[in-house]
């Protein structure tokens, strides 16, 4: 049965996301928790030599909205520059999920996005890797 809120796309992303998993050598890692629901997201980003986001994986548990949002965000991020990722704001995340959410459920949708902000913050506090000067992995 198809529900107009839990659309096929959202269920697919939450139940069988190709972005669920771990990277071998992630450059940026962050964890997020929604204490109200107990939703958890672990986000890993791999950066290409030119600083663009090469690969994204997430892991976690929680409601369909939190998990689908993480998967859809991962899909959006791959191939984007760090600046583009930073410009992807709160409203863009809510628009990406594309269903009307009450304030309580918006927190579920925004969990992965908030986790991304943490990951990007950790990136800006360490020198970005460049092509000619290999930088150490910031997570060491």
């Amino acid at each position: 049965m198809v529900d107009d809120f839990y659309r096929e796309e959202i269920l697919d992303h939450s139940q069988s996301s190709p972005y669920r998993g771990r990277l071998d050598r992630p450059d940026l890692v962050a964890d997020g928790v929604n204490p109200l629901c107990g939703d958890r997201i672990h986000l890993e980003l791999g950066l290409a030599p030119d600083g663009t986001i090469g690969a994204v994986r997430f892991d976690g548990s929680g409601c369909a909205i939190s998990q689908a949002s993480a998967s859809m965000l991962a899909e959006q991020l791959e191939g984007k520059s760090a600046d583009e990722a930073r410009r992807f704001d709160r409203q863009a995340m809510l628009d990406l999920l594309g269903i009307p959410l009450t304030p309580a459920r918006q927190k579920c949708c925004l969990l992965a996005w908030k986790t991304l902000q943490k990951a990007l913050e950790s990136a800006s506090s360490t020198p970005a890797p460049t092509a000619d000067v290999p930088a150490p992995c910031p997570r060491h």
Partner: protein, 439 residues
């Protein structure tokens, strides 16, 4: 209906309670959640709906006799004070307290229990003294004791549950000992619905000279409460779970206990005399009621108690058990549903459950769109969910105005949620518009 498993067989069968005889008294029950979607309210353990008598009582204070209590000599103040104290008398009579001095108005169950922890706990308990709780306590009857344990070195011990959600009295016997100073326990679980054997617990506490605190927040909406017969030292409950307003609650305490306890909050009304260097406390119960109380809400609680006092509780108890039994049976018939609730004959009206593959929050959202209001999460009982080994649960909680057709609405909405989440198509389960990059 699980009457075949009930241990008590009564010769007299009460006349069945018809919830429709009472539903018209609750205006919220007539609303639609959205146009064409009637409300099926199954979140009574969180808060109950209010009858017109309560609504009008609260309104009367604001429209007829707005004034502060215990202070003015003018007519309005006298009327407000009389209504406020009449509410206290109603509560005292309803729960069989000896008199009004044993009834303290608080903001709710949480504040009532905190009052006992901050006053009795801080002055009567020494490092190494033990407080015995049960594994099913609500955070309101847990966190105040954790705070006291941290502050005073008091030790907390927990009586465990049987697999069916009832209290293991053998475990309780192992926890209660010579160092036990207080046994604080819920009369009815807000997650499992379990009705606890209060008399047995009190007897065990009294055998070692320990005080008892009954968290009656859930219990009080599901049957009469007789603190004299139960013999508890303290009982705490909230107005809003017993068809009264929010922001008002009760701490019942045996007079001897309350007299020996210092006040917690200082201010107006709780003092007899104040000088620059000292103050003398007011008599009970005012010693524990500093500042202007929630007057309208107290008057509303008085009306709620009058509503409860007029009910035929034998018939309502049978009605509530029937709702629980049919909800348990109907939900158990749905593939993937796991039930977490006490057997109907020991259950005050709560059925918690999980559905494989559907997070409780998603379930609650789908049910809401069909007008069915339930709660999802941990229901302020994280340690109990850890014991059950589940991160969260969905909870349907019934009370006297719920009816059998609402059980069916619940079950059908759960079946619908299953059909949405358990898709049986053979399409490739990959919705991503593009392939992910390699790790």
């Amino acid at each position: 209906m699980s009457s075949s498993t009930a241990p008590i067989i009564t010769s007299e069968v009460p006349a069945p309670f018809d919830p429709w005889s009472i539903r018209s008294r609750f205006p919220v029950l007539t609303r639609e959640v959205r146009p064409g979607v009637p409300l099926v309210y199954l979140d009574n353990a969180a808060t109950s709906l209010k009858p017109w008598s309560v609504i009008r009582a609260v309104q009367s204070y604001d429209t007829e006799f707005t004034a502060n209590v215990h202070r003015g000599l003018h007519t309005l103040s006298e009327e407000a004070t009389a209504a406020y104290e009449e509410a206290r008398t109603s509560v005292a009579r309803y729960i069989h307290a000896r008199d009004e001095s044993e009834i303290i108005f608080t903001r709710g169950t949480t504040e009532s229990i905190n009052l006992v922890a901050l006053s009795f706990g801080r002055t009567r308990l020494q490092p190494g003294d033990e407080i015995v709780l049960t594994a099913l306590e609500h955070h309101a009857n847990l966190v105040p004791w954790l705070m006291l344990a941290r502050e005073r070195g008091v030790v907390l011990r927990y009586a465990e549950l049987h697999p069916d959600g009832t209290l293991d009295l053998d475990s309780l016997d192992r926890q209660i000992g010579s160092r036990t100073r207080l046994v604080a326990f819920s009369g009815m679980s807000n997650v499992l619905g379990t009705l606890l054997p209060i008399a047995e617990i009190v007897a065990r506490a009294q055998a070692v000279g320990a005080a008892t605190l009954l968290d009656a927040a859930q219990l009080v909406a599901h049957g009469p409460l007789d603190v004299a017969a139960l013999g508890v030292d303290f009982a705490a409950f909230s107005g809003h779970k017993m068809f009264g307003p929010t922001g008002i609650g009760i701490l019942y305490g045996r007079r001897e206990r309350l007299e020996a306890m210092p006040p917690v909050l200082g201010g107006g009304d709780m003092v007899l005399e104040v000088h620059r260097d000292r103050a003398e406390w007011n008599e009970l119960p005012y010693k524990f009621e500093a500042g202007t109380p929630p007057i309208a809400q107290a008057i509303g609680l008085g009306a709620a108690v009058q509503f409860l006092a007029e009910l035929d509780w034998d018939a309502i108890t049978a009605h509530q058990q029937q709702l629980v039994a049919s909800a348990q049976a109907r939900l158990a018939s749905i593939s993937g549903v796991r039930l977490f609730s006490a057997p109907a004959y020991q259950n005050g009206g709560v059925v918690s459950f999980t559905v494989d593959g559907v997070h409780p929050h998603d379930l609650a959202q789908i049910l809401d769109r069909r007008g069915v209001a339930i709660r999802a999460g941990q229901h302020c009982a994280m340690p109990l969910h850890e014991t059950l080994g589940i991160p969260a649960s969905a909870r349907a909680s019934f009370c006297l105005y719920n009816c059998q057709s609402e059980v069916e609405s619940l079950a059908q909405a759960v079946e619908y949620a299953c059909s949405v989440f358990h898709r049986s198509d053979s399409r490739s389960p990959n919705a991503a518009r593009k392939s992910p990059a390699d790790g």
